[in-house]
């Protein structure tokens, strides 16, 4: 066994211990430790990705060397490794970009606990990506739910954040409850919890016509559970509050990473347990496609009506989650690949936008309202540049990351037939136009001259820390890299999805 094969397990354990270690460190030390941890994890995951790409295959990692029906397993393939590299890297950059706001927003004595929560959150995300066991996935979903709530609730002097946390928590509990009952039913039907065994058992019982209805119910329960957790329209009501009221780094990591881990688990369940063809025959993807299309349009319309920058970005996340579900709902390999690239695109773009929004807020007296933010990009040019890149990427301008999604989704849609093609293309076009409207309006508002400059007020200019500058610059470069070299990412995703089935 090559040493590199142990890295996914090592990363999960590093993050788990990080949660404990951060709780006894001082705030600054905990911050440095957490950054170091994320940097180390990114490097380790990059080595794993290189290993899986080089070997062109996936492997099973036995936890404690107990073999199949008894032991717990990790499965590491190119797709999981790619997601893990991107998520760890984005987490590092998000923390760097939002570091100052973390120290401003948190209760002074409890900043170290914030970094502890972030470590645990990352451990659960990486574990959800790699786990080969459905119940382990459930446990880590709950861990991610608690820690995600903790990173919102961390500025609990702000009543709105507290209310948002509670709403998020309750919706999350409903989602995971539905997911758990789905797992229980599937376990009851098959007697397995590991993905491979589940897949074989489901194929075996699918031949019996009597089990088709229970299987449809189970697929529906998984979809609803993960749909609530990842804020699919119509279950998205908790998201704008939660992401709009958290500190900049929290908003970024929640919409960039936490939602995506849940969607990725759903993709894994669809592809590895049920198989794409079987899923399509149960007609659940059709419903996901309709919800995804509704989310794309409805999320964009809500964002257009919003006068609060962070809530606008949160509604934009609802729309972007819709793109992922549109890809999944197509029920084809190409659609699934487009969904995976959208996961990466949004993970690269949204945290950058939230960190930029944090920068604007700190030069505008802490207000999130559009009117107060007028001209903020002039006072804070670096955040302005990042916001512009993010906005162009979300609209889907060529050379920026978002274009990769739009291109692959449209190509996948054109390969479909019947009403689906029209529904998908119409949703993509409409959503793109709406994205363009609200992002460019926001960008224009941020860049324009403030209306009545108060002659007495000292103009506030941004003071950049090296962390913020690094984070923003790397985010911009990554966004362009993903936009220009999306072929490389698509190849890895293609290989990973091939190995799934």
């Amino acid at each position: 066994m090559a040493a590199v094969q142990n890295f996914p397990f090592v990363v999960i354990m590093l993050y788990l211990t990080g949660g404990v270690v951060c709780s006894v460190l001082r705030a600054r030390a905990a911050a440095r430790y957490c950054l170091l941890l994320n940097a180390a994890a990114t490097v380790l995951m990059a080595m794993t990705l290189a290993y899986t790409l080089q070997s062109g295959s996936s492997y099973i990692y036995l936890m404690g060397h107990f073999s199949a029906p008894w032991g717990n397993e990790l499965r590491i393939g190119p797709l999981e490794a790619l997601m893990a590299v991107c998520f760890c890297g984005v987490m590092l950059l998000t923390l760097m970009g939002g570091m100052e706001h973390i120290f401003e927003d948190c209760e002074p004595g409890k900043i170290n606990l914030y970094f502890g929560s972030v470590s645990l959150l990352m451990s659960s995300i990486v574990a959800i990506l790699f786990t080969n066991d459905l119940f382990t996935a459930y446990v880590f979903i709950e861990i991610s739910s608690i820690t995600a709530c903790a990173v919102i609730a961390v500025n609990y002097r702000n009543g709105a954040a507290l209310v948002a946390t509670t709403r998020y928590m309750i919706m999350g509990l409903l989602g995971s409850g539905v997911f758990l009952i789905g797992i229980s039913m599937l376990y009851d039907l098959t007697g397995h919890l590991l993905f491979e065994n589940l897949g074989a058992a489901v194929r075996a019982i699918s031949e019996d016509a009597g089990t088709l209805f229970p299987l449809t119910i189970i697929i529906g329960l998984f979809s609803v559970g993960m749909g609530i957790k990842s804020a699919l329209f119509p279950f998205h009501t908790w998201l704008p509050c939660a992401h709009g009221n958290a500190t900049a780094a929290s908003s970024g990591m929640l919409s960039g990473l936490v939602l995506k881990a849940n969607v990725f688990l759903l993709i894994k369940i669809f592809c590895r347990i049920f198989g794409l063809e079987s899923i399509v025959s149960h007609h659940v993807p059709d419903i996901l496609l309709v919800f995804g299309a509704c989310a794309m349009v409805f999320g964009s319309v809500s964002a257009l009506l919003e006068r609060d920058l962070k809530r606008m970005l949160a509604y934009s996340s609802v729309a972007q989650i819709g793109y992922i579900y549109l890809g999944i709902g197509m029920g084809t390999k190409a659609g699934m690949e487009a969904a995976c690239i959208q996961i990466l695109v949004h993970a690269f773009t949204k945290p950058m936008l939230f960190c930029a929004a944090g920068g604007f807020m700190s030069v505008s007296g802490g207000s999130k309202k559009m009117d107060a933010l007028r001209g903020a990009a002039r006072r804070d040019p670096l955040s302005g540049a990042a916001f512009l890149v993010g906005a162009l990427s979300m609209i889907g301008i060529p050379l920026f990351a978002g274009f990769a999604t739009k291109l692959n989704l449209t190509l996948a849609a054109l390969a479909l037939h019947g009403w689906k093609t029209w529904a998908c293309v119409a949703a993509i076009v409409l959503s793109t136009v709406l994205n363009g409207l609200y992002y460019l309006r926001a960008a224009a508002n941020l860049c324009s001259e403030p209306e009545q400059p108060d002659p007495k007020a000292e103009p506030v200019h941004a003071r950049y820390s090296w962390q913020f500058v690094t984070s923003m610059c790397v985010f911009i470069v990554l966004n362009l890299y993903l936009g220009i070299c999306s072929g490389r990412f698509m190849d890895a995703i293609h290989l990973g999805l091939e190995l799934f089935s």
């Binding site: 608690i146 209310v163 928590m169 509990l173 409850g177 758990l180 229980s184 039913m185």
Partner: protein, 128 residues
């Protein structure tokens, strides 16, 4: 047993039916109830429904728990211990969830002096 009981004896899956009922009650109350404490209770009810389902499915009539004291019998004599293990894990998860939700409830009550969640949302909107 009398023949008038044969109806109830034919209902072989009443555990599952009841567990789904409990789950449904918990789910609905957690979604719709305004009182935060009742929401916490509903959360536990919902999870209990799931555990009852798992426990009921994991038990096979006439088999014993796999606790081996003097020599193992045939594997057929025992039930699978994994469902019970899943229930235990689930209980741990729901305990931590309950604790977290109660902690949030305390914070909200200290700030807004009410347990009615709609009222709390209204008050927090007014603060802004």
């Amino acid at each position: 047993m009398g023949s008038d009981l044969s109806f109830s004896l034919n209902l072989f899956n009443y555990y599952e039916a009841v567990s789904m009922l409990i789950f449904g009650i918990g789910f609905t109350v957690l979604l719709l109830e305004n009182n935060l404490i009742k929401k916490v209770i509903a959360l536990n009810l919902m999870d209990t429904g799931t555990y009852l389902f798992l426990a009921a499915k994991g038990y096979v009539n006439g088999r014993a728990a796999p606790i081996i004291t003097d020599g193992a019998a045939q594997a057929e004599a025992y039930v699978n211990p994994v469902p019970a293990g899943l229930v235990l894990t689930g209980i741990v998860v729901s305990v931590s969830m309950t604790a977290f939700l109660l902690a949030l409830t305390v914070r909200l009550f200290l700030r807004y002096h009410t347990l009615n969640f709609d009222e709390i949302i209204r008050l927090s909107k007014k603060e802004e």
